[in-house]
Amino acid sequence: MRHTNPWLTALMAACALTVLVPLYFTVVTALKEPAELAGAGFGLPADPRWSNFADAWHLTNYPRAALNSALVTVGAVVLTLLTNSLVAYAIARNLHRRLFKGLYFYFVSALFVPFPIIMLPVIKQTSLLRLDNQLGLILLYVVYGLAFNIFLYVGYIKSIPRALEEAARTDGAGTWTVFWKVIFPLLAPMNATVGILTFLWAWNDFLLPLVVLSSPSARTLPLVQYVFQSQFSTDYTTAFASYLMALAPALLVYLFAQRWVISGVLRGAVK
């Protein structure tokens, strides 16, 4: 009864290849000479050309872009976890009040506002407030993330029995202490989910950095790929080296934290 199904295993492995083949292609292309590109291009490079990476590194000023991406992503994740959970807690515990219920729908409804409506006003506003930089991006991710995160957190907090808080309250703890000492630690699974989703969003986003950032020195990794697309010119091997370097950090983080990432998303989804 407990034996595995070899045919199904083979089928799933074949499906997994559709994920791996484009990645394999990216890696081998990044290591080729331009002259080796003729044909389908799935073969291995004759002699790995590591200088493609050096070229892409200098051309896109990789360290700068990677630092910007890291700064924005870490800032967005940390601030989102600390603030969005707090807001969700206040809403979840007062959903019987019209004001808080209204707030819940007010925030969640933003999920359906297409970005183009607010694009130009936001460009104007961030520039006016001197937030057309990394700090502004962090703020926007935290604020725009509210819509979906409140939805996730509120559902989760409702399932936490109030008895736990009551016990702390009888010990004389205020609402803030209850949140930080009792609720926030209990939110760990949902924090993992929200943290992962925010990380992926901020790290991979393109349109918001494109319109918000003014200074070239503030550009993030995806934006840099876009900016240098024309300069890669026909040098596809350098372009692929650059793509690979832009994808690598998230990919590496994922490889090392894979179990944790997936179980975070899994647990978050079941709430």
């Binding site: 199904n5 997994a16 506002v113 297409p114 607010i118 349109l207 995806p222 790929q225 647990r267």
Partner: protein
């Protein structure tokens, strides 16, 4: 018990920031849609003229038709594929954890960059392979054919989006205890009947949320198109988001395209409203 004052302080800063960075821009956007502003300098109030012109513009209609066709097909394919793979991963197979890990990879990659990589594959590698194998249909660049380019975008979108939905479906499948399934097996229910009458109803809430979010995301498709076709060939793959961005910023018709964005918003709300109701019903029962 009165509401603790602390609760108000907890929501106030977020509310203010949300007002400033979201609600005010929405209202400003709506206001601009009633003007002839190019986005800078002086402008005049023109009432509903932009909206009237929208109705007469067949390019706008084309963009909506493309966007809906793309979003519906991509949503259905993504969810069908994700559900199938999730069922496969949940069955008795070897290397389950490793395979699960692989299937999630596309979700951690930036769509723009994925798009550039697939752009190259469509233009060079796939035609070369197809020519070698003698497959006529794929021997030219899919993205260069106005009638088929949208399928290339669907392929990349599904490739990337299925990853996340697989995990959500897996989460749903794991809520079903083996007892329930085994009871059904003993009853002699066939696999398809077992899936339809037992498994699917239990993961229906996960299905709902995946469908709502997929459709909403695909209706706003932008990055994929910038990297793959930039709206072409011709205007065959110009999505509403891309049209608003390019017409508003590059074409200099900011106010007009903002009116388009407002209409787009209403359309998305209308589509989602019915789906949201399903969601709320689920919230009640939860």
């Amino acid at each position: 018990m009165t509401t603790s004052r602390a609760y108000y302080w907890m929501v106030l800063p977020a509310l203010v920031l949300f007002l400033v960075f979201h609600t005010v821009p929405v209202l400003q956007g709506f206001y601009y849609s009633l003007t002839d502003s190019p986005g800078y300098g002086t402008y005049g109030f023109v009432g509903l003229r932009n909206y009237v012109n929208l109705l007469r513009d067949d390019r706008i209609l084309d963009a909506y038709l493309f966007t809906f066709r793309f979003a519906v097909v991509a949503t259905v394919l993504t969810n069908a594929l994700a559900l199938a793979i999730a069922l496969g991963l949940n069955a008795r197979i070897r290397f389950r954890t490793a395979l699960r890990g692989i299937f999630f990879i596309p979700n951690v990659l930036a769509i723009l960059i994925i798009g550039y990589i697939f752009n190259y594959l469509f233009a060079n590698s796939i035609p070369a392979v197809a020519q070698a194998l003698g497959i006529e249909a794929l021997s030219t660049n899919l993205l260069a054919d106005p009638g088929l380019a949208w399928l290339g975008i669907v392929a990349v979108a599904v490739w990337q989006a299925a990853a996340f939905n697989i995990i959500i479906y897996l989460a749903g499948l794991q809520t079903i205890s083996d007892d329930v399934r085994e009871a059904a097996t003993i009853d002699g229910a066939g696999s398809w009947r077992q899936f339809r009458s037992i498994v699917f109803p239990l993961i229906a809430p996960f299905f709902t949320i995946n469908m709502v979010l997929s459709l909403k995301n695909f209706l706003q498709v932008f990055d994929h198109i910038v990297a793959l076709t930039n709206g072409g060939p011709g205007t065959a793959t110009t999505s509403v988001s891309l049209l608003i961005y390019s017409g508003g910023l590059e074409g200099g018709e900011y106010a007009y395209q903002t009116a388009n964005a407002v209409v787009y918003f209403l359309v998305i709300v209308a589509v989602s409203a019915f789906q949201l109701r399903v969601l709320q019903r689920r919230e009640m029962s939860a």
